[in-house]
Each structure stands twice: as structure tokens, then as C-alpha cells.
Amino acid sequence: MGTVHAKAQADNVSTVGGLFELDEPDTLEVAIPKPTIKLNGVRARVDRVHVDGLSRTKDDIVRSAVDELFHATDFEDVILKAHKARRSLDSLGCFKDIGVYIDVSSGPGSTPEGLEVTFQVRELSRIVGGINTTVSENEGNLVLGVRLPNVAGRGERVSAEYSVGHRSSSNFSVAATKPFPKSALEPVVTTSVYQQNHEYPWSGYRLLDRGVLLDVAFRTSPATKHNLQWEGTVRDASVLSKTTSFKVRESSGPVLKSVIRHIVTVDHRDEAIFPTHGTRVQFSSELAGLGGGVANIKTELQAEANKEIVPGVVVQLTGAAGVLHDVFGTEIPELFYLGGPATIRGFQQRGAGPHCDGLATGGTMYWASGLHLYTPLPFQPGKGGLGELFRSHLFLNGGCLAHPEEKTQAIIESLSSVRVSCGAGVALRLGRVARVELNYCFPLRAAAGDAPAPGIQLGVSAHFL
């Protein structure tokens, strides 16, 4: 949070407690009445707003962020609006430190109740670099990135990243982002060009994706985020070894895919990693086929609901479902896969679903769900400190993945061969975005051909079922 300084009329408020405020306050015989100021009773208006420290940021976006201040009517309003202005300046992504100073206005043009608000900002440097790690689908990546924040003065960003993981190599992407804070819904437009080289040993192929992604992100409410995307990629699939199954070999070769995608996320949880209450729903739909060699329609729904039944103990219910309708050209890399430490625990990665020669070949429809119980570690070691990062975790996962013909009877039949697993383990929070889970799993029910993995399973991911 920034600092808010306010010089109000000094009252006889005596501070007690010494330099570090650790001493016991001296007991006074007479209780001095502490004067209270009702902030919303003090009439005030903002005469002037200064923003210091701008060099390349353009005036108009700053003006639109602080405009609200001029509509404040009393002191409390001024402080609240100052906070809001500070937040919207922060969200422009142009500044490093923002300090807010409120002072009585003086000088020409000042009114008796007038206030001057000064925002002291420090702009981000022209070029920012960094090395960090990301986590996705049970693997970690090392990312080297270079970012040029606030390139043209209105919050635009250009970033280039190169990342290496233990199952992928030489991925890079170059992205340009431009926010439009003045338009309705404040959309953010991102264009990026990328190349990804990723191995999928459980299905026996390697993908080399090169493409262009155009993304428009906007919020219709504080909790609802929409993404509208167009992606054009050339996907080159090749088998990993000479002995890979022929079915996977048939998908080799370069394919051009042009996709329009819409993702809507409604997130009312209080926190992303160990939420205590709230729900999250994400619905994504994809249409491929306007140009390119692949045409299909893909929809996917993910939902999560949390409730704290006893302080510290959280019950979580999750669910996911997806449907893919193929028109032509859909190959193995496009299909759904189920199983693994981040979806149905107790199965190998991609281990629940149709297999051919021991390799997962994917399905066109799936549903999956999970029931979880999170409690703090037993005996609560390290309470208040390191122990807060851990949770113990009991789960029950179930789901089904199928590749049926498109007749209702066949669909219902194939989706009813449910895989179930349960188990217990420990979950560790990684920062605010990812989680590590170490579980002991019992696959209770598996279909023939699946690849269950009873016993200890380690999973690292940003999103778990």
C-alpha cells in the first residue's frame, strides 16, 4: 500500500509507548479523552491535483485516472477516491512507486475547504529483465524475459521471453500489449508471436507449434473476466521414437489451424490457491476452421466451490466437462486427455482414457469431478509461519473420458465407465499462483487399458481438479 500523509490540525494527542512502542504504556490517573474526528463530516473539495515524476507517460491516461478526485465532497470521500485513483494509476502498469500526499491548498485560486492532492510517482525503467520460473502441467520451466514497459507512454508493453523446461526446449514468445483504460470495459489487447516445442511422452509425440495469438481481455464486473482470442498456428507433430504406435504416427506432419476462442471466468473466491469460500467457473469455447486444415468445435467447463465448515477446515467440490465435435482434420494432439496429478489423481499423466499400444490417444468427451477436504497440518507445527504454507488434503476424484460415436446411446454408455480414485496427502503453496501436492493415492476403479498409478504421486501445477 502506499503512504497517505495528511496534515490535519494538530490536536493534543499524546503518543505513549516510547520509541518502539513495546513499553507498557504509563498508566495515567486521568483518562484523557481522545478527540475523534468524523472524517465524513468535514467538508472538503479538491482544488488541485499534482502528479509528479512523469516523463514519458502521456497526460491523458493519467488525467482519466485521477479525474474522479474532483468530484469528492467531503474528507472521507477524498481519501477513498485518492485510494481508488492510486489503484487505477497502478493498474496502468507504468509506475513503480506511487505515493499520495494530501495537503491544505494554499496560494492563488484556493478555496477555504480546498485540498491539494499530490501523487508522487516513479516510472518504470525503459527496459526490465528478469529470470523466473513458471509451472504448468506437472513440469517446471525456467523463463528468461525482457520487458519494455510503457513504451509509448500509454501503458503499452512489449515483452520477449525464452523458456526452457525439462520436457520442452527452446520456447520463445514476443508479445505486445496495449490497454485501453478510457474505453468502456477497459479492454486490453495483446498480440504475440510464439514458438513452442513440447514433448508428450505419454502419447508418444512431440509438437512444434509456431503461431500468432491475438487476445482481447476485458472485465464486465470485478469478478468476471472475458478473453476473446484468435490464434493461427502451424503445428508440426512428430513421433518420439521409431517404435511409437502407428496410430500416433499417422498424425505426423505440419497442420495449419486457425481458431477463434472465447473464455469467460467468474471468480468469487477469496484466494486462488487455498480458498476458504467462494466459487469459480470458467467456460471456454473454441471454433476452429475459418481457414486452415482443421475444423472442430470444442467447449469446456470448469467449476469449483469452496466452503469452510469449521475454522481452518475447507470442503471443496470441483467439476469439469468437455465436448469436442470434429468436422474434419482433428488429430490426436487436439483431443482431450484425463488423468494425472492435476486431474484424476492416482492415474499416470493422461492415464485415464482410450489407449493404443500403451500410448494415450485421447477422447472427444469427458467429465470429471473431485471432492476435497483441506485442513491445516495435524498438530499444527509452525503455526503462524511456515506451517501456513501447508495443508493436509483428502480427496476423492472421479471421471470418464471417451471417444464415442455421436449417437446418444453410445455417448451415455461410454461416459458411464467411471474411473474413481481417493487418497490423502499434503499440499504446499508456491507463492500465490501454484501448488505442489504430494499424495498417496488408491485408484478404486479403472477401465481396461488405463494406466493407474497407485501409491505416492507428486504434482506441481497452477490449476488442480
Binding site: 502451424v234 502407428f246 504416427r249 506432419g253 505440419p254 495449419l256 481457414g291 486452415g292 486444415g293
Partner: protein, 258 residues
């Protein structure tokens, strides 16, 4: 004796135990709109060989045949769980199952046969690649269009360019890229000369049809029946009457085409 690696000997003994299955498939690019001169020659040669051995097979055409192939070159056959590509490995594979066309030849004749097959691989194949990808006329009017016909528009352009660069790199490494068209045709002429000399006026190179006849048929037949803007290659080959006669003979006997 050439030493076989342990893996080769295991594969040999495993595959020798099973006879030739019934559902062998030969994969190649689309014949009418996609396949190019060098690939067509190789595919015809393998087909001729399999027919000469009386081994049943089915032809399946796929747009991504060259990407499916384990060596990146067509044709390839799928025989049970094995995938074998290109003529020489397929000949070896059939020999492991006890089917061979050169079992009656003496060791010297077999050595000669392998030498002549190398001659064709080194000269005719590279000449075909040169004509298809380096000769500007042929590239622009035939190769480019045929190669990109199976891809949607931007991908076709990207793919053809990258394939052309790969072919040129290969020709450069083999010192064929710097040759002029006249030098290439001279090499083809010399190669066909050697082959004609060896064939003489016999029906087949060694009396009975062998893989050398299949290979000669594949290349000669393709060259004389493919219409290209540059007619010189076909004219050079057509001048060698005995080779043309051999090609026609194999075609009539094994492919029953008009």
C-alpha cells in the same frame, strides 16, 4: 563377414519367424495431384519389387506420407508392427523373411548388382532432385504447385520453401548443386550408358528379374512418362532403347497397364 548389431539380429530372427502377412500396406503421397518425380520413381521401384516377389500389398495414399515415414523418405511399408522405408531396407526385410530375387546369383553378380544400384542412387536420384527443385522452370510450373496442393494456402508456401531449402542443402553437400543442367544431363547419359552396356540385349540384367530391374524400371518409366517443362531429361533417357524396352516389359508383365 559384416557384423550385425545385436538389435539387427534380434529383429532379423523375430521377423523371420512370421511369414509375410496379408495386410501389408504401402504408403505414398497422392499420385495424381501431389507426388513428385523423385518420389514417384522410388515408389514405383518398390511396387515393382514387391510384385516381382509376388508379395501382396495394398497402396494407401496419404498427404503426410513423408512425415509418417521413419526416415523422412517415401515409400514405406507397414508390415504388422514393423515400418520399413525405402527400397534397400525393404529388400533386406523381405530377405529376412526368406523372400529374395537374387538368391540364384553368384556372389560376384550380387556385388555387381549392388554397385549398379548405387550408380542409380547416386546419379539418377540426384538428377531427378536437381530437375525438380533447382531447375527454375520445372520448380515454378510443376513442383511448387504439386507440393503445396495438399496444404491450406499459407502453409503450402511455407512448406514448399522449407523443403526446397532442405533439398538444396543436400545437393550442395553431395556437390550436385554447383553443376549446370548440361553437366547433370551428361552424368545421366553416362549412367544410362553403363546400364545399357550391362544389360546388352538381354531381357533382364541377370536373366531373371531382380531388384536392380525394379529400380531401373521405377526411374526410367517415371522419367519417360512424366511431362515436365524441361524435356531434356526424358529425351536423354529415351535414347537408350534397351532400358526403355526393359521398363515397358516390366510394366506390361507386372502392372498390366495399357
Amino acid at each position: 563377414m559384416p557384423e550385425m548389431s545385436l538389435k539387427d539380429s534380434i529383429i532379423t530372427s523375430l521377423s523371420a519367424q512370421e511369414p509375410w502377412p496379408d495386410n501389408v500396406k504401402l504408403f505414398q503421397p497422392y499420385e495424381v495431384e501431389q507426388i513428385l518425380l523423385p518420389d514417384n520413381a522410388s515408389c514405383l521401384a518398390v511396387q515393382a519389387f514387391l510384385k516381382m516377389c509376388n508379395l501382396p500389398f495394398e497402396v494407401e495414399m496419404r498427404w503426410n506420407a513423408e512425415f509418417m515415414s521413419p526416415s523422412g523418405r517415401v515409400p514405406f511399408i507397414k508390415c504388422g508392427a514393423f515400418v520399413v522405408s525405402e527400397l534397400e531396407p525393404i529388400v533386406q526385410f523381405a530377405a529376412n523373411k526368406g523372400v529374395s530375387l537374387c538368391s540364384k546369383l553368384s556372389t560376384e553378380e550380387r556385388a555387381e548388382m549392388r554397385a549398379y544400384m548405387s550408380l542409380i542412387t547416386n546419379v539418377l536420384v540426384n538428377a531427378e532432385l536437381y530437375i525438380s527443385w533447382v531447375d527454375q522452370d520445372t520448380y515454378n510450373t510443376v513442383t511448387r504447385i504439386r507440393n503445396s496442393s495438399v496444404y491450406p494456402w499459407p502453409l503450402g508456401w511455407i512448406q514448399t520453401r522449407s523443403k526446397r531449402n532442405a533439398v538444396i542443402k543436400r545437393l550442395k553437400a553431395l556437390h550436385w548443386y554447383d553443376k549446370t543442367l548440361e553437366q547433370v544431363l551428361a552424368d545421366v547419359e553416362q549412367c544410362c550408358n553403363s546400364l545399357s552396356q550391362r544389360l546388352g540385349d538381354k531381357d533382364y540384367f541377370f536373366g531373371t528379374p531382380t531388384e536392380l530391374d525394379a529400380l531401373v524400371f521405377g526411374h526410367v518409366f517415371t522419367i519417360i512418362t512424366t511431362r515436365l517443362p524441361c524435356r531434356k531429361l526424358a529425351d536423354t533417357v529415351r535414347r537408350h532403347v534397351s532400358l526403355v524396352a526393359l521398363a515397358k516389359r516390366v510394366d506390361e508383365q507386372y502392372f498390366k497397364r495399357a
